[in-house]
Structure formats: structure tokens, C-alpha cells
């Protein structure tokens, strides 16, 4: 779960296989022999890297196709670093990073950048906080000036009224994106049941209203000194620039910032759900929705990719098993989704389905459980595995198009660097999915879903708890 500073604004060798051969393959339903990969070459995002004496790691990727540049900074801190009573603080701090710094008066960060044709945004997740500036390539020095000032000189400019103001903005973000949105409070209700109170994933990134109220200027100071240091950040500069231009600018603006204390973390307690947990939440909704959530594995663990493919086989698109049964054939649901969500500390798998008018959640749960059991007993077909792999491969190609913004190449270089320690991990990442077999998917459906305990959350229209999923009704 990620929380942004703002909503995105509008204004982010060999030919194809012979068609006949492909058609024949479809007709007889034999897709065991993998088709030629969708991309002719390996996926590569070349980069160069250097580290300043204060510990700031810099990754430079040149892409001269469009005259733009992006500066993408990951601070290795997220909501999982928050202390009890201060949930939502990492995200509030992210907002404060735009409220001015010693040499950049409040408001100037955005004004200067817009006047140079640039845009910016930021987001906070459980494990990291990312910031980017995108703009014409000539604006690089300005971006680095602004980013270095808030990395090194934030505190003199942050006052209690500024904290109050952004507290108000963030609380409105919570209202807009959670409280005033149907089913908006479901995920936090799942997290508190899936993770024990002392686990860093127990609370949502957005935090509680009460904890946001409690955040103080002292919290800001402590958080800044602990986490917003050069040695706890990695910066990617990508686009129509060269290492020769980038390195001196980095030295100039960031070289003088002092190194901070090393960040140490206690590993979280092991997570175990000893029994199924059923819960019901009444909401201002027309239709009931059921959420099944399991503990799984962290990002890039051996079964992470297999679980993602399991999710896609179950519910990605109309050809998926659950869509076909629930929405298309039985017509008892309006929508269904399933996904693996792996973080640095832990992962979870969810299946979510919304009932059509006149149907209750036990009807949906029975079919969901049936389909999970079928997959656990018989596994997916070779064609299903191939279809999902092709979709994923095409998605990787799409991720090579953009340099900046959320999910662009710069952001992905930072992601891989932080999660696996290799910025250009694109091809290795894709290879994980290519290695997943039908037997893997079957084993995961059996061991991680069918035989594992879960949280079952029903969100029902107020006053209609009789529509909720009940224990024992579906197995």
C-alpha cells in the first residue's frame, strides 16, 4: 500500500512466430512448448554508480531518446519504522519535505520547479519513501539543489504551524481515499488481524487519525536525524544526461552534507496465524465484498513469483478461473481480484470478490474455495501458465518505456537496488517468472492457500451482517 503526496494529475533477432503455427497451437490446446520470447533482446537498463564520502549512493542511467531528466530518491524508511502511537508519521514527514528548507522558502520548491517545466511527487510505503522530480534535461541542477537542501537543511524551516497544516492535508487524504470511499477501511482491518500488534506491518501506511493528531515537531526532528541522511538514501539520475555532467553536480550539492547514524533495525517477530479469523465490517456500501488474506513470503523469496502467477491464474482477466466461475458463469459476483503482495519483511496473498445484488458472501466463498481446491489438486494447464507468463513479459516491456515518475526506469532501478542489491535486475526478475512451472503453482495453491489459515473479512451494508461469510460454511 502506497500513499502519494498528490493524486496523479492530468496535464503519468527473429521475427514473430509463424501465424499458422500459433493458430495450430491454439486449436489443439497444446502450449507446452514455450513460444519465442516477446522481446528479441535481453532486458537491459545500463547504469553507472558511485558513492559520495558521506554514504549517498548514486546510480546514473543514460537514455537520450527524449530531452528529459528525472531525479528519483529513495529514503530507506517507511511506515514499518514508525513507533507505537505514531502510525502514519512516515507519510506525514514525506508531506513536510515539501514545506521548504533553510534556503528554499515555503512554496518555492514547487514554484521553482514548475517555472523550469518540472513536476514532482512522492509516495510512502511500508518499506521506503520515494521522491521524484521530472523535467527538461536542463533543469537537473535545480532538482539537485532543491533535493540537497531538504536532505541537509530541513529542520530550520519546519515549524509547528507547518506540521499542523500538513497534518490537516494528510487527514483529508485519509478521508478522501479511505473513509469516504466504499470498502476504504477494509485493508487496515485485514492488517490488524493478519499481523500481531508488535509487527511493523500491523498498521496501514496512512495511519490513524488519533496518531496523526499526536505527531509533534520533536517527532519530526528525531525522524529527520535518524532516517533522512545521505547514508540512508539512494538517488537515481536518469534521462538525457551523462555521468560526466551528473557527478560534479552531485558532489557540489550533496558532498558537504554530513553522514548520519547507521540505521539499525530489529527483525520483526515471525508471523504465524494459528487459526482462521473471521471478521465483519459494516460500511456504507450497496454490495457485500469478501476478502481472504493469507501470510505468504516476502518479495523476491523463492515462491514470490509463483504466488504472483497463482494470483493471475485465479483472477487476472476474464479468462481467469475465478472470473469465469463467479462473474461469467454463475453471475453471482460483479468483480474478483487476487494478488501476491510481497514486502521486505513479509508478504500476503489476497482474494477479493464483490457479490451481485441478491447474493451473499458464503455463496462466493464456496466457489472461491472450490477453485482453490481444484487448482491445488490438479494444477493449472500449460496454456494458463504460458498465458500469464506472456502477460507478465509484455508488462516488463512496457516498464522500459518511461524514465521518470512512479514506476519509471529510475524508480525501478531504486526498487531493485533496495530489494535485491542489483539495480539492473530487470532480466533476472523476468527470469523468475519464466522458471515457474505448473507444478509450482499447484504446490503453492495447496500449501500456501488451501492448507494455510487465513483472515476472512466481510464488508457488508450497514445492518446486513447476515450477508457475511461464516466459518465452516464454505469448506
Amino acid at each position: 500500500m502506497v500513499h502519494g503526496r498528490t493524486d496523479a494529475r492530468t496535464h503519468r533477432t527473429g521475427g514473430p512466430p509463424p501465424r499458422l503455427a500459433l493458430a495450430a497451437l491454439l486449436a489443439i490446446g497444446l502450449a507446452a512448448a514455450p513460444a519465442a520470447p516477446l522481446a528479441a533482446q535481453e532486458l537491459r537498463v545500463p547504469y553507472q554508480t558511485f558513492t559520495l564520502s558521506n554514504g549517498l549512493k548514486v546510480i546514473v542511467h543514460e537514455d537520450h531518446s527524449v530531452p528529459i531528466v528525472t531525479v528519483n530518491t529513495w529514503y530507506h524508511v517507511g511506515s514499518s519504522d514508525e513507533r507505537p502511537g505514531r502510525t502514519g508519521f512516515a507519510h506525514l514527514f514525506e508531506h513536510l519535505m515539501f514545506m521548504g528548507s533553510e534556503h528554499v522558502p515555503t512554496g518555492d520548491f514547487d514554484k521553482l520547479l514548475e517555472a523550469a517545466g518540472g513536476d514532482n511527487n512522492a509516495s510512502t510505503a511500508e518499506d521506503r519513501t520515494n521522491y521524484f522530480e521530472d523535467g527538461p534535461s536542463n533543469a537537473l541542477a535545480l532538482m539537485l539543489y532543491l533535493d540537497s537542501d531538504r536532505m541537509g537543511f530541513l529542520l530550520p524551516e519546519i515549524t509547528p504551524p507547518k506540521v499542523d497544516l500538513q497534518r490537516g492535508v494528510v487527514q483529508n487524504e485519509r478521508r478522501q481515499s479511505y473513509e469516504n470511499r466504499p470498502y476504504g477501511l477494509a485493508q487496515e482491518n485485514i492488517l490488524e488481524r493478519l499481523y500481531p500488534a508488535d509487527h511493523p506491518y500491523h498498521w496501514p501506511v496512512i495511519g490513524s487519525m488519533k496518531d496523526l493528531d499526536a505527531a509533534s515537531i520533536d517527532d519530526v526532528r528525531q525522524f529527520d536525524r535518524t532516517y533522512y541522511t545521505p547514508n540512508n538514501a539512494t538517488m537515481v539520475v536518469a534521462g538525457d544526461v551523462t555521468l560526466r555532467e551528473v557527478r560534479p553536480l552531485l558532489e557540489r550539492y550533496f558532498g558537504g552534507l554530513p553522514r548520519g547514524p547507521a540505521v539499525t533495525r530489529t527483525p520483526p517477530p515471525p508471523v504465524h496465524l494459528p487459526a482462521d479469523v473471521y471478521a465483519t465490517l459494516e460500511d456504507r456500501v450497496q454490495l457485500p465484498r469478501v476478502y481472504d488474506a493469507w501470510h505468504t513470503v516476502k518479495a523476491f523469496a523463492p515462491d514470490d513469483a509463483g504466488l504472483e502467477m497463482l494470483g493471475a491464474i485465479l483472477a487476472d482477466g476474464k479468462a481467469s478461473r475465478l472470473y469465469k466461475r463467479l462473474v461469467y458463469e454463475l453471475q453471482i459476483a460483479t468483480d474478483v481480484s487476487a494478488f501476491q503482495d510481497g514486502g521486505r519483511l513479509d508478504g500476503k496473498f489476497e482474494i477479493i470478490a464483490t457479490a451481485r445484488p441478491g447474493h451473499d458472501l458464503n455463496e462466493l466463498s464456496r466457489v472461491i474455495d472450490e477453485e482453490v481446491r481444484t487448482l491445488a489438486e490438479s494444477g493449472p494447464t500449460a496454456r494458463e501458465v504460458e498465458r500469464v507468463r506472456n502477460t507478465i513479459e509484455a508488462d516488463f516491456l512496457g516498464r522500459m518505456e518511461r524514465v521518470g515518475s512512479f514506476g519509471g526506469k529510475a524508480d525501478q532501478l531504486n526498487y531493485y537496488d533496495y530489494f535485491v542489491g542489483t539495480p539492473d535486475y530487470f532480466q533476472h526478475d523476468l527470469d523468475r517468472y519464466r522458471r515457474v512451472t505448473a507444478a509450482d503453482v499447484q504446490r503453492l495453491a495447496r500449501d500456501d492457500l488451501l492448507r494455510a489459515h487465513r483472515v476472512v473479512l466481510s464488508v457488508v451494508p450497514a445492518g446486513h451482517t447476515e450477508l457475511a461469510a461464516t466459518e465452516g460454511a464454505s469448506r
Binding site: 530531452p67 517545466g117 535545480l142 497544516l165 558532498g255
Partner: protein, 480 residues
Amino acid sequence: MIALRSSLFAAAVAAAAATSLPAQEVDRSHPPTLPPPPALRTPPVQTATLPNGLQVAVVEMHKVPVVDVTMLLDAGSVRDPADLPGLATFTATMLQQGAGARGALDIADETAFLGAELNTYAGYDAATAQLHVPKRRLGPALDLLADIVLRPTFPDTEIARQRDLRHAQILQQRDQPVAMANVAFAAIVFGAEHPYGRPPSGTESSTAALNRDRVAQFYQANYRPNTARMLFVGDVTLAEAVKLATARFGAWPPGQTTKVPDVTPAAPAARTIYLVDKPGAAQSVFRIGEVGVSRATPDYFPLEVLNTILGGSFTSRLNQNLRETHGYTYGASSQFVMRRAAGPFVAAASIVTAKTDSALIEFMRELRRIRDDSVPRDELTKAKAYITLGLPGEFETTRGAARQFADLLLYGLPLDYYGKYIPQIDAVTAADVQRVARQYLDPDHFAIVIVGDRSKIETGLQALNEGPSVHRDMWGQAVQ
């Protein structure tokens, strides 16, 4: 070439000498001076017309082996019959529910198997069939596209299935205050008789009336090559695209098409607050506005600058005031929605319930101030630079470039449009901005639509004397 000309420029010159200092002595008292910005390079558009009238346009982008194909069809919601709002969007959805020898599930399965994304939808002015696919699968993916555009079968069972799904989705709109506000605002501003006033997704009763005959009839009348445009963006050449398109769409027979009749929007009422009740809502969703301009407006460029200043960027007046000064909202914005006919001007935000009345004061203050006072030079310069210097980024991805060029095709604008864009923005003066603000913003006739908890907000709103408050439902219709 654009240079920074505001006070920023003066400051930047002063700082220039500091750029060669060693790290420890870097002068942070001024932002750095910047070299001149790069020139905008937009890829050229190549075109061809097939014998049946189908226009093909190609923008080559060879960085990544993907192709984005956009097929624009003159079959948008403006063509909905008055008795059947929702027919255009429903027909677009139905294209994928059976075509040629393929059933709905086959289409979905084969699309995914090719690693392709295939979407069909309708907006007010056009229906769109969109394909995004790795280059290596372009041929078979175009076979699918041709099936759904040329040979949809509209099976009764699939009509019933999608109709039932749409019923549930309309029911779910009641949970979504933002969707409620958009539907009500359109109905109130344009009136239920105007195509832009009707809900593109239909109503409960119009959904119940959808059937195979009406869908097939709509398809026959409006899906024609001579009014269609096909745009390829990505790893493809004009010769390839023409060959691929001819093989699949060359035999598509042209047909007689009708022009969409012009309908005059309802005459604007005196400024009124329209309350749509949403008991227990944590926020009040605002939509304030009136009928604006069409895409063909001669004032396009001054309006872009005006809107950037008013509510089209993070530092815009509405966002600065309502979010960054007052903290009433997570974000406030405005937009001139330009279509073939005049679309709405709308200012929007979701406001914490307790500050609903205070927020209206600030909205109205900003909407009047931009008419009353000339825009300061710094603010004008910043807005123009934000638009012009940000333009290259819009052409970075195949999807982004496709959006830009599809607009030109849809609205009949010259294909070298973006080459002339920047000088026209640069030419906009403060006087131009004030002129278009006075011409196109009429606060005396704004419709102020608010979806929120009436019991908590109505008294405060009435006390402002910004107009009478009346009660409407989510369809914009009077509530007794």
C-alpha cells in the same frame, strides 16, 4: 528557445558564479542558473488513406519493441438516442463479448496469451478500440482487433450478462460520492436534453431497456471506416502499418453517416447551490462550473494558461489556497473540458465536512479574483514555462504520444500542431488571460454542486448568501 524570465532569472544570474565552488562552499542562497532548455522534438506523423476511406496515421518510436494501436470511431455517447442513454458505451463494451468465431472468453484468453491489452470504450465524442502489444505479436493481435471491430456478434446471452453487470455497477455508484457529483453536475449544467447532460453509463431504466436490436442498430449506423481513424504509435513503419491495416480493414464497407445534431445547452440559471445528500460523508465533494468551450475554440492557448494558473498545477491558486494555505482538502483543481461541442468548465475538490462553507468562500474568492485582477508577471511566466517545458514529457511513451496524436485526429487538428504549440503559449499575455477569464468564467451563473452530509453543511452554506440551495438526487433531478 525559452529562457526563464521571472525574478527567478535575476536570482539565477547572481548565483552563476557560485557554480564552480567546491562542495563545502556551495552557495545555497540562490537557486542555480540553468542552461537553455532543450528544443521540443515531436516525432512526425505519417498518414495514408485506404480506398474505403479509413485514415491510417503512424508515429514511429523504436526504443521499445511495442506498438500501440488506437482506432477512433464516430460512435460516442453524443449519438445515444434520447430514450436510451448508455447505448454507445454499452455497444463499445459488447464488441469484446463475441466476434467472428470467437466467444467472449476466447477473446479474453487469446488477448492475454499474446501479451496484449485490448480495450473498447466510448467517450462523448468517439468510441475507441485500443490495442497495446509487443511488436512480435502485432499481426495476431490485429486479427483480434479486426474481429471485434468488424465482426461483433452481440449474442443475446452476452447482452443479458453485461446488462446485469451494468445494473450492479449503477447501484454501486451510490457508494461513490465523486461519481455521484460528476453525474449530477453534468445533468444540472447541460440539462437532461443535452447529450453532455445525460449519463454516459446510462440509468437504471435505460439499462433495463438495452437489447440486441438496439445495440446492433447502433453498431450498423455508426461503426464505419469512412469516419474512423487508425493510429499506430511505436515500433512500426508506415509501410508495415498500411499493409497490416489493408489486409484486415481494407474490405470494410463504407457507409452513410449522419452528423451529430447541435443541441444548445440549457440557459444557465442564476448561481445556485445544488445539494446531493450523502448522510455520514466524511467530506463534501465539490463541482463548481458552467458550460465552457469546444476544442475548436480560438482561445485555446490563453485558456490553457488561465487554467494552469487557476487550478491546473500544484502551485495553482485553487490548490495553494484550499490545500496548502487552509488544509481543507488533499487537492483542488480546475479544468476546461473541451469536446467537439462546448464542454464544461469545472472546479473541483473533496473538502472536510466541517469546512464546507469556508471552502466555498475560498473557491468563490479565487474564481472571482482571476477575473478582477490582472495576473502578476511571475505567475504568468511560471505557468507558461510549466506548459511549454513540460511538453516533451508527454511524448515519452507510446501510450503518451498516442494520447496526444489521437486528440489531433479526433478533433481534426493539423498533424503538425505540436510543432507550433510553444510559440502560441509564449504569446499569451496577462491581458489575454484576464480577457478569457471574464469571457468564459461567469460566477453569477455557476452551478455549485456539492455531494455531502446535508444535515451538517446546509445551514452554513445558506448563511454565505452565495445563492439559494436546492436539493437534487445523484442524477441531478429535483428531490421533493
